[in-house]
Symmetry: C2
Subunit: 203 residues, 2 copies
């Protein structure tokens, strides 16, 4: 990460490589993504790939994971920092489904990376786990705000609810993929959010 010796032009090239690699990984998996196809897609040369990512493919993939993680969390702004009311949760839910639909493929850039990386690259796996934890923490904060607002019973376990919601997203996407439809994702997500809604409306 020594960005001192990099020009604006170089930074753009580097970013172009990361994004193209991310798209290819989402489309064909890590194994199905080769440096040659990345090179072709970005109109760069081998030397550039190793110039910007001295660690080779492994480092490139890690950078992709970091970038995708940031993108994913940013896509949930600003709602993810609210989630203090049922309406906010509903907006968040809509934005998230929108995000996945926009990507075209029914896969979470982080979730599918997690499955693929768990076995091969432990460093990558832990980086992804960190993103997951951040994400879960932000959702748990939202649940806490609901509790503070009295919209959710104070005995509720924020961490647990956040985990259930995240699991619903990941699992919903697994089932949405072959179905080529958002409905499994939406069904799973709605069911996971039910505790929030339910308590909020029946009180």
């Amino acid at each position: 990460m020594d960005s001192s010796k990099i020009t604006e032009r170089g930074r753009l090239t580097r970013q172009r490589i990361i994004e193209a690699t991310g798209e290819q990984i989402l489309a064909s998996g890590i194994g199905g993504t080769t440096l040659d196809t990345v090179r072709a897609a970005t109109l760069t040369s081998k030397s550039q790939l190793f110039h910007y990512f001295p660690g080779g493919k492994a480092e490139l993939v890690r950078e992709v994971a970091a970038w995708e993680g940031r993108q994913l969390l940013e896509a949930q702004e600003p709602e993810i920092h609210d989630l203090g009311s049922w309406e906010s949760w509903e907006r968040w839910r809509r934005m998230l489904v929108e995000y996945y639909i926009a990507r075209g493929r029914w896969a979470c850039p982080i979730g599918s990376l997690a499955t693929q990386a768990a076995t091969t690259d432990s460093e990558l796996a832990s980086a992804i786990a960190t993103t997951m934890r951040d994400w879960r923490e932000q959702l748990a904060d939202g649940v806490r705000r609901m509790k503070a607002a009295g919209s959710v019973d104070s005995s509720a376990d924020s961490q647990r609810i956040a985990t259930v919601i995240l699991a619903a997203i990941q699992g919903g996407l697994v089932l949405s993929q072959p179905e080529r439809s958002a409905w499994p994702l939406e069904a799973a997500l709605d069911n996971a959010l039910a505790p929030l809604h339910h308590v909020a409306t029946t009180r």
Copy 2:
């Protein structure tokens, strides 16, 4: 699958290859599993691999997927064919978690294959999708039995509930993996089963 020209000895060898490959895939993914490592683990030779799986690695992986799918459904017997009462669901839940714990790794042989295969081998992907559909259908049958028994409101959507449960399993495992614990899986699963329990007890 012309089994006419295969002896018992050959059948055993073939099966040994399938099981060893399955273990390696679960541990290292499809890409991390090579014919050489399979050969080493099974004390066989290259020619045997191609003798029993003329289609090469692709065919071998498909056979593994089919076998793992059968194993997974069998592991849920006999409860999966009952599920007509809350007690049966509870037994089924316990058996399923037990199955994943016993495998050591927090991954579903079918779910993780689905993620990896979706992109590379469309034939494999559709075979896996079929297993998923079977599974979901059996769960949906269970929900229908609950409805028939009056334990679940007749307006409930069996398919939807089954999908939500499956998503909870898959997503729960994604989160259990980095956590190295069953609790995310159990939390997600329990939340997905809540509708069945809830209605059953509050009536």
